[in-house]
Each structure stands twice: as structure tokens, then as C-alpha cells.
């Protein structure tokens, strides 16, 4: 006698299992959405610097920073992690601004170099405030150390 193994049963398990685990995923997502206010530093977004942070994020995106850097570990792996750069630079937005502004337009011979983006001071402030906001997200102690 052979083991019964029918296509109908396999199909039912596929649909049932998929629906089941998608619902589970939605339930966990629902819980996560409830927890995020305690972790994602949204107070900063609602605060005085909120507009600057939002502008900084847009500048971050429109200059494709993620194409070289990682942010909270996601992105390209060509240039340093920036999720904690504010802390790495001694909790200083000015240091971040100075670094970005000082990149040579023609690069550094033989080495990787960040392009010169010719940002205005206001834009530099926005980016630095965005990076400060990111550094204050609760990331479960990642990265392991200040080097990112």
C-alpha cells in the first residue's frame, strides 16, 4: 500500500500555510508598530529640529549616500557605517559638517574618497541633524563598537 500524497492536500497546505504565516507576520507587525514610538526616536521628528531632519533625510536620499555607505548596517559596504557617526565624531554635528564640506572635488589619488557635493550650510546642518537623529534610534546596541 502506498502513502497517500495528493496534489489537493499539498495545495491546501500551501494556501493555508501561507495565509497562516502571513497573518502571524501581520500580527507581529501590528505589535511592532505599537512598540516603535518607544524606540525609533520619533520625538526628534516632532521636535524643533523635525523639519531639518526631514530635509536631511531627503538630501541623504537625493544624493544616493546609501550607494556607498551603510545606515544601520543597510546599504553599500564601500564606505563607513553612518548610523553612529554622530557618536563617533564626538557627538558633534559640526564635525560631520566639516568633514562633508572638506572633501576634495578631484578625489584623493589612489584612494577611495567621498565626492564634493557643494552643500550649503543649511543643507549641511540638515544632513548632520538627520545623522544625529539616526544615532539616537534604539538599535539593540548595534553596532558592537564605535567603529560601526
Amino acid at each position: 500500500m502506498a502513502q497517500p500524497f495528493t496534489k489537493i492536500m499539498a495545495r491546501n497546505i500551501f494556501y493555508g500555510g501561507t495565509a497562516f504565516f502571513f497573518l502571524l507576520f501581520l500580527a507581529l507587525t501590528f505589535d511592532t508598530m505599537g512598540q516603535l514610538p518607544q524606540r525609533d526616536n520619533r520625538a526628534a521628528l516632532a521636535g524643533e529640529m523635525g523639519p531639518a531632519i526631514a530635509k536631511g533625510k531627503l538630501l541623504w536620499e537625493e544624493n544616493n549616500c546609501i550607494g556607498c555607505h551603510t545606515l544601520l548596517g543597510e546599504g553599500a559596504y564601500f564606505a563607513p557605517e553612518l548610523g553612529n557617526v554622530y557618536k563617533r565624531y564626538g557627538n558633534s554635528t559640526d564635525a560631520i559638517k566639516a568633514f562633508i564640506a572638506s572633501r576634495p572635488a578631484e578625489g584623493i589619488p589612489g584612494r577611495r574618497s567621498m565626492p564634493q557635493f557643494n552643500f550649503s550650510d543649511e543643507e549641511l546642518t540638515a544632513i548632520a541633524e538627520f545623522l544625529k537623529y539616526v544615532s539616537e534610534i534604539n538599535t539593540a546596541n548595534w553596532p558592537p563598537n564605535i567603529q560601526g
Binding site: 500500500m1 492536500m9 497546505i13 512598540q35
Partner: protein, 193 residues
């Protein structure tokens, strides 16, 4: 019960192979979760022992009895269909569903109680495990009940018989799996300390 196959020639479990692959996958997830619970407890023994006492053991006992009883009813339902007694098969399945419903009610009541105390997955590592394990199992009970409803309807429509009852056996196997998981979960999370 008429033995239509002698014991020695059966070398596959009752029900469809596909449901067994599914059962094994589910059991694996639970096994990893159980081991993770035990080893995480090792690092937080006092915390686990303290918060374990906040759980409602009476409710868990009722739930254990409910699931064992419903599993037993499902066994009777399979026996019934094997002698072509469709009516009784449906009755046993309905009885099993009632027990499942009891489980859901009691467990929901527990959840409401936790919720009113502001306990959630992020409260501490014990509640994280307790809620994850029981909620994941809770969803399995719902899933199992959906399956039982489906086979009860099919049985009532006369889709199963003495010769062809793989569907009943498949659903029964899944339901026993749900019971089996709880039989480990109950002592591990509620009693062992």
C-alpha cells in the same frame, strides 16, 4: 473497530504525506523555540522563576484538559469513520471543536488579563517567550479548528467512508500535533522551575 490492514504492513503514518511534512516543519519550529526558552532561562533564572508565578496555572490546566479531551474526541471520530459511521464521526468532531473553543476562550481570557496589566512582548524576556510560544500555539489551535470544521463539513456531506478517509486522518494528525505541542508547553512554561 475493524482492522482492515494488519499492523505489519503499514509503513506510513495516517493521513496524507503532505500534512506530515507540514507537521514536521511545525514541530521543528516549536522544538527550537522550546530549547531557546530553556537555554535563555539559564541566563535569567530568577527573572523566569519570578514571572512564571504571575501566570494562571488553573487556566493552563483547564486548557490542557480541553486539548487532551478534544484530541481524544478526534480519535473517536476517526474510529467512527473507519466503520462507516458518518453521523457519529461528525458528532465527535463537533465535540472536539467545542473543546477547542473552550481552549480559545480560556486563553483569550488570560490574554485580556495580561493586556490589562500592560504586559506585552517587549515587557521582559520571560513574557517575550511566554507570549510568543503561547500565541504561536494559539494560532495553531485556530488553524486546527478551521481544518476540523472543514473535515466535519465534508464528513457531513458524505465525502468520507470506510475506504476513503485520508482527509479525516490528515486533519486528525494535525490536531494531535497541536495537542502534542501544548503537552510540552504547559509543563515547560507554567510548571517547571
Amino acid at each position: 473497530m475493524k482492522a482492515d490492514r494488519s499492523v505489519s504492513e503499514i509503513n506510513y503514518p495516517p493521513g496524507d504525506l503532505a500534512i506530515w511534512i507540514f507537521i514536521l516543519a511545525e514541530l521543528t519550529v516549536f522544538a527550537i523555540f522550546f530549547a531557546a526558552y530553556a537555554f535563555t532561562r539559564l541566563q535569567h533564572v530568577e527573572l523566569f522563576n519570578e514571572y512564571q508565578l504571575t501566570l494562571d496555572r488553573e487556566a493552563a490546566l483547564i486548557n490542557t484538559l480541553a486539548l487532551i479531551t478534544s484530541s481524544y474526541f478526534v480519535v473517536r471520530a476517526v474510529s467512527a469513520i473507519k466503520v462507516d459511521d458518518r453521523r457519529r464521526c461528525v458528532y465527535w468532531l463537533l465535540a472536539a471543536l467545542c473543546m477547542g473553543m473552550l481552549f480559545l476562550l480560556v486563553k483569550s481570557w488570560e490574554y485580556v488579563h495580561h493586556y490589562s496589566e500592560g504586559i506585552n512582548l517587549s515587557s521582559n524576556i520571560f513574557y517575550m517567550f511566554y507570549l510568543s510560544l503561547t500565541f504561536f500555539h494559539f494560532m495553531h489551535v485556530i488553524m486546527g479548528m478551521v481544518i476540523l470544521v472543514a473535515i466535519a463539513v465534508m464528513a457531513a456531506r458524505g465525502k468520507y467512508s470506510r475506504q476513503e478517509h485520508t482527509g479525516v486522518e490528515s486533519g486528525a494528525s494535525y490536531w494531535h500535533m497541536v495537542d502534542l505541542v501544548w503537552l510540552i508547553l504547559f509543563p515547560l512554561v507554567y510548571v517547571m522551575r
